[in-house]
Subunit: 326 residues, 2 copies
């Protein structure tokens, strides 16, 4: 029997945090490799099988970034649902609720700590296990845990949240609820990344953790948009990490997200962040097509961004043109 | 066996909403009198006994204002905990989790739809059943339900939320989390009650519902203060409804909540609301003492408002002086 099943980002394996995991007899600690790729269906299936060899856990605890949150959420569901996680990629396909799951974020901005999806890359698609049961039962927000995030990573992930809010507020599914959360998250983001006290300070770490949570709630009740659709394609084909992929895409979306992109560029400049450019000239036509073919089916994102008649505007060629800007 | 137990504010008994309750066989609808007094321990005990004669319900659904939310929360706990609800007035005294409870607010501002307390007036004290299990499992926010609230009631209850936020943000227990929620709630409140588009409109009804939720979360993670402590005393002795009692008290707290009170007075003026004044001259010394004796033991509120050394400032005489201003 397993009481607590700790899933921990393997970066912490030999770090103080890794040694602080309060596991006892009957608990299991499993360090997860997410440095080489984003979470996959295969990885979650394997973790599930490993747990179930020992027995059904009472609680699953994910400690790490957005990938770890998503793996913890997916694992919680998959110990209670038969077959491969590829069967459940989509909306409301999960049959049974999962076990009690707790998230402890060690980086802020993904929103995965509160979102109702667990994004996995499968052999055919990158798509979330999305249903009411996906939501974590509990989250622990401790700003000390994000104090030592390297600046680039801090920025890319913080921008993931910034982009969530801009996308959530720019589109058809916007509503009073998502806007209230998005507005406050953006306010905090601007304090952290552009205000007179901007930077990695204890006060800003608190603000960023809360901004991430509010941004995650904002997008949950609205929708992400063009940047996330493009970013999914980029990550799928080149395994670019989600935060960086978003920044690469958002940098060229001034025609869609005007002021949001201009502010983003100010923040990039403020922290002297390197956003890779001129990538498209090294991409083959096949690679560009492959990315666009991942992005196009994300209909709810295009629908949100361009309205009910989105199909008049959005097609494979148009999406390939977005990629050619990068 | 009872499947769904609907607790409905009796004002709706002969109204369209009362007729829309989707009860079926095995469900029970119970109209609750909260017009003549605030929720009492006796009332909750009686409702609990009435339900349990039929059997344990699967779900309890409260439809109404803050009182109904609190009665639904308390009833959900009391069907699973023996004896009178007076036994559980306080922090973490409840022994067992309650049944699944849903809240459907029909007025906005109380914060009771998200708070972790169910305030009841007992023979000895007005104090909440406060624990993690008190929180509703689900809330339904439908702005159409608050569209026809009479202006005075709309204002008093909206100000309950405004005061929650001012108190939450003014004091020792303030933190980044409560401030993020409080700031956004205040922003929405000012749009609804003071902005160029102020008033009871469909857009503002949406904003007010969300403001109430955010304010409730803000105070849950921080604390209320001087106004709520005084207001509890006033309600206990004179059965003044909570929203109005808050307004009566807050009106005279400019020395504690400066700018907040000045803004409050602008809102009062804007909507030509009558806040009763010159009450103290009709109160007896015994009545004033009785109110102060209810307010003084609310130590967490005084501690929040005046800091760790609050006992140097706050005493029965000082509190009686607050009441003498009214």
């Amino acid at each position: 029997m397993v009481l607590l099943f700790f899933l921990v980002y393997d970066h912490f394996d030999d770090k103080p945090l890794g040694e602080r995991i309060p596991s006892e007899e009957n608990d299991m600690v499993f360090f997860v490799d997410i440095q080489t790729h984003e979470p996959t269906t295969e990885q979650v299936d394997l973790i599930r099988d490993t747990i179930l060899e020992k027995g059904m856990p009472a609680v699953i605890i994910g400690i790490g970034g957005g990938s770890l949150m998503d793996i913890a959420k997916a694992t919680s569901l998959m110990v209670c649902n038969e077959g491969s996680s590829t069967l459940y990629q989509g909306l409301n396909l999960v049959k049974n609720p999962g076990v009690y799951a707790i998230g402890v974020p060690t980086i802020s901005g993904t929103g995965a700590e509160v979102s109702m999806t667990a994004v996995l890359t499968g052999p055919e698609k990158k798509l979330g296990l999305k249903c009411d049961w996906t939501v974590l039962n509990q989250i622990v927000l401790d700003p000390d845990l994000i104090a030592n995030v390297p600046t680039n990573q801090w920025f890319y992930t913080g921008m993931d949240n910034y982009i969530h809010c801009i996308e959530s507020e720019t589109g058809d599914f916007k509503n009073a609820y998502s806007k209230a959360f998005g507005d406050q998250s953006l306010k905090l983001c601007l304090e952290v990344f552009l205000g007179p006290e901007a930077g990695q300070t204890p006060e800003n770490d608190e603000k960023l953790m809360i901004a991430s949570m509010l941004g995650g709630l904002s997008l949950t009740y609205s929708e992400v948009g063009v940047c996330h659709a493009l970013s999914y394609g980029l990550s799928y084909v080149f395994e670019t990490r989600h935060g960086l992929a978003n920044c690469i895409c958002f940098n060229h979306l001034e025609d869609v997200y005007g002021e949001g992109v201009r502010e983003f560029k100010q923040m990039v400049k403020r922290f002297k962040i390197n956003i890779p450019q001129n990538l498209a000239k090294r991409w083959t036509e096949d690679e560009i097509t492959a990315m666009a073919e991942i992005a196009l089916p994300l209909e709810h994102m295009w629908r949100h961004a361009f309205g009910p008649n989105w199909k008049d505007k959005v097609n494979l060629e148009m999406i390939k043109d977005y990629y050619r800007r990068m």
